[in-house]
Amino acid sequence: MSLLEVRDLSLEFRTRSGTVRALEHINLEVVKGETVGIVGESGSGKSVLCFAVLRILDAAARITSGSIAFAGMDVLRASESSLQQVRGREISMIFQNPRTALNPIRRVGRQIEDVLATHSATLREQLKPKAIEALAKVRIPDPDRRYLAYPFELSGGQCQRVMIALALACDPQLLIADEPTTGLDVTTQAAIMQLVSDLARERGMATILITHDLALASEYCDRIVVMHAGHVVETAPTAALFRAPAHPYTARLIASTPAPGQSIATLASVPGNLPDLRRADLPSCRFQERCERALPECVTDGLPTTIADSGHLVRCFNPL
């Protein structure tokens, strides 16, 4: 049974310099308890997609087609008040740059209490102990003292743990982690990812991990969704994706991920840049201009969905 179902979602932004077609015909499914990775270059629309799921988009955003269903609820038609019940309680999100994602002049303990007070029926006297408990669960040392800390007094890793505590305070069914370790050093990265992974397993919580780091995704995700310029180009279970990537873009991404023992000179790269999404003359496949396997139909015909294997979908006229 799917927890989150995104069907044929298209989204655009109205800006002064034109309309940016940020997402087109996105399909995404997350099943209870699984960890799905969304990978792609910066600007591929990964974060925008998740903002749409929570409906915390900018005012300039317009959803032009499609639907989003979470646990049976129609997210796009729901009222703001019913969505407020869902955010932070059923679906939570953690962000990149944990220090700027927290209120700089409010103690972290109080920020956790704010979430608890909003979503759970916790009594006032119970708020502080529950907040400290939340901090302890994310393995912050000395949670009693850290409860009183301000974000600027904590390290990057500690701030990220606080954010995770905030997100998990009310036991959500789905956690969206938007590049949670990008701003952190490697050791802290590993610790944070392990924490998220352990907590998710303990609670049977589904996770969406947004990252541009393919290696990270390969290690922690059950399934991977590859995005390019606002399109989902390939979806597959992790092992299958790395063993037999079907989309040329995926193959290039994998080839450009450094492996231990590999010299930088042999590192491949993905040629070209993301196309300007304001253009009116975009080809049907937005990878077409950078692809060496492009066919004439890639420009004009609507993209097909080919099933390469069970659970392995690719949107390409000329898959590998």
């Binding site: 915390i56 019940q85 927290l102 209120n103 301000y150 600027f152 905030l166 997100a167």
Partner: protein, 337 residues
């Protein structure tokens, strides 16, 4: 926290020293004979000689400065020629009137500017937003004394809504027993509702005049600051956590947006204390502003010196208070020193 206050006090000290030195230079640097200035236009030669001796004008500049400091420490700001009273006494008598006026002007300005600024920021592009921007540009163009006259003309002469703009209290009433010197507070303390209303009526136009000028920078800053904060990342986290809109606006956005507004208060007080003089003249308000204007007309110099010194020291104290207040709101201040 005590450390912060002490550090700020130490920081204010150079300003106090600077103020004292400048006021000293202003009075002793007078072209011609300073003694003649202080003695007044109708003084006899002996009187001028006396003044010269008491001011120490025949001594070196350093000695004069020492004398000046000694007089200040004793609270001796000289005597007013027209009234013969010690300047310090007269200033002390009149200060509450000016303070009450300035405070009311500030409160009025804040209570209009801040909500409007917040509204404009939460509804960008709306008519409120455009109105705010227009008021902000127009507000700083208004000459305070002209606004006062206009308001008096419209509300007193044309509409008859405001009381006669002459003074602090209508002749029919007598002032309340002095506790703070602020008539509004004192009339409340004396539980005299009619007196309170009368006092408030007299305060309305002058306070509005003062407030109008500073409303503009306050509104502009609130709007800009709020806009900046609303698009910041921690607000997105708050929204993603499902926090109710009011909590996000007030506890998260507004408190953070307040910081630059508090900093703006320094400039606001500079305007308020300066424009005070103009407003007091227009409305015949018996504060230290009209005191110094009378002194200027009579070429009575000691009160002018006292006035400049008092206002400057008051301003230093206010800036100190603002700094400390900022330190209370923003916990990051201590580390940046």
């Amino acid at each position: 926290m005590i450390g912060l206050v002490l550090k700020r006090l130490a920081g204010a000290l150079p300003n106090v020293i600077g103020v004292v030195i400048v006021t000293f230079l202003l009075t002793r640097a007078l072209p011609g004979d300073p003694a003649a200035y202080f003695a007044g236009p109708s003084a006899t030669t002996e009187a001028i000689q006396q003044i010269r001796a008491s001011l120490g004008l025949d001594k070196s500049l350093a000695q004069q400065f020492a004398l000046y400091l000694r007089d200040l420490a004793k609270g001796d700001l000289g005597n007013s020629l027209s009234t013969g009273q010690p300047v310090l006494t007269e200033i002390r008598q009149r200060l509450p009137a000016s303070l009450e006026l300035t405070l009311c002007g500030l409160v009025l300005a804040l209570s209009v500017a801040v909500p409007l600024g917040i509204l404009a920021a939460t509804r960008p592009g709306s008519w409120i937003d455009h109105l705010c921007r227009l008021l902000a540009t127009a507000g700083v163009s208004l000459p305070t004394f002209f606004t006062g006259l206009l308001l008096a003309y419209v509300f007193y002469f044309l509409l008859g809504v405001a009381p006669s703009p002459l003074g602090r209290i209508d002749v029919a009433f007598s002032p309340p027993p002095a506790v703070t010197g602020l008539y509004l507070v004192d009339s409340l303390l004396a539980r005299d509702a009619a007196l309170f209303r009368a006092t408030a009526g007299q305060l309305a136009l002058p306070a509005a005049t003062l407030g109008l000028f500073v409303m503009a920078p306050l509104m502009r800053m609130t709007r800009a600051s709020m806009l900046g904060v609303l698009s910041s990342e921690f607000i997105r986290t708050a929204r993603a956590s499902g926090l109710p809109r009011m909590k996000v606006l007030y506890a998260y956005a507004f408190r953070n947006a307040l910081l630059p507004v508090v900093t703006t208060l320094g400039m606001v007080f500079s305007f308020l204390l300066g424009s005070n003089v103009l407003v007091e003249k227009v409305f015949a308000w018996p504060g230290i502003g009209s005191y110094v204007i009378e002194a200027l007309v009579a070429s009575d110099y000691a009160p002018v010196q006292g006035f400049v010194l008092t206002m400057a020291l008051l301003y230093v104290a206010l800036n100190l208070a603002i700094d400390v207040l900022y330190g209370f709101i923003d916990p990051r201040v201590g580390i940046e020193g």
